[in-house]
Amino acid sequence: TDTFNYATYHTLEEIYDFIDQLVAEHPQLVSKIQIGNTYEGRPIYVLKFSTGGNNRPAIWIDTGIHSREWVTQASGVWFAKKITEDYGQDPTVTSILDNLDVFLEIVTNPDGFAFTHSQNRMWRKTRSRTSGSFCIGVDPNRNWDAGFGKAGASSNPCSDTYHGKTANSEVEVKSIVDFVKNHGNIKAFISIHSYSQLLLYPYGYTSEPAPDQKELHQVAKSAVTALASLYGTKYQYGSIIDTIYQASGSTVDWTYNQGIKYSFTFELRDTGRYGFLLPASQIIPTAQETWLALLTIMEHTQTHPY
């Protein structure tokens, strides 16, 4: 993985090869878990970074649930490599991994991602079929069982924000739900999207403030400050509904309602020029600055057990 080019975009196959290579290089630190299969039958993989212990408290990070947001999957690859480089070298990373496990799902929507590489670069949703409709796919960030089907999602199967027939109808979502429930000890859940330079916390489906809003707001503030320290990239932060718009059935609303207090969702970089077509030259700077924010959240999770 030292010769892997982190400054270009890669196909699903290349990313899966990278995952296997990373595991082979660091068998004591990294393992690969298959949490399910996609609608079209592709394996869904999660990397587990662990230094031992049994069912330690854990941090979850996922990238690329919206397939066209290519800088997120590319950043996920960079994060994976970074963790293996920094464990044993960087005191913060070492301390986190000595106490917590980290799960990283680099390609959260493999069918959609493959489709963006082969047929439609702008594809956002899953690739599941909806009976009675010619339109394909569900927005996997509207398919969670948190305010499912309320305002902020579409009931139209042709819409890019179609919530699906039922909560968890998408296997890509259900696989994570099952994993999180079975694990039972996940303390932070960070879901990464692009673009609009935001760090958000629950809620999206209701304007009721989350019970931990004050703390989440402080953590978000610290995280975006750390992020900006590298290249000056400015992020807004706040609850989903207050900062962008009402969105029901979203990932971190569900995780928060499951009791995962440190639930955050990122919208990574864009300068307002490229949107989802962020030039590959910006992958590494994006990943580098985001990593600083992730470290802030992970460190806070470690030092504030609950």
């Binding site: 439609n120 670069r121 307002g272 949107g275 989802f276 077509l277």
Partner: protein
């Protein structure tokens, strides 16, 4: 592969709540085949929308008629996609050699 020749991405600036609502109305006009990259949220928050070539005139006229400001964020989506593909192909060619 889906062809995005002539598609533009417009960055729309809605100055007040009424303009935000007007842009939101565009979302319901399915025949325009608009793809909102950043949806209408609140005044001052940029709205980015990919507009297929056949809908460009209609969308621009709609915005101008309601006094809603916009600029062209991406002139031709396919051009950027081609550059992206060329870069990836060049990398693979180098890696293979």
């Amino acid at each position: 592969s889906e062809d995005f020749v002539g598609h533009q991405v417009l960055r729309i600036s809605a100055a007040n709540e009424a303009q935000v609502q007007k842009v939101a109305e565009l979302q319901d006009l399915e025949h325009l085949q608009l793809d909102f990259w950043r949806g209408p949220a609140r005044p001052g928050s940029p709205i980015d929308v990919r507009v297929p070539f056949p809908s460009i005139q209609a969308v621009k006229i709609f915005l101008e008629a309601h006094g809603i400001g916009y600029e062209i964020m991406i002139e031709d989506v396919q051009t950027l996609l081609d550059e992206e593909q060329e870069q990836m192909s060049a990398f693979r060619a180098r890696a293979t050699s």
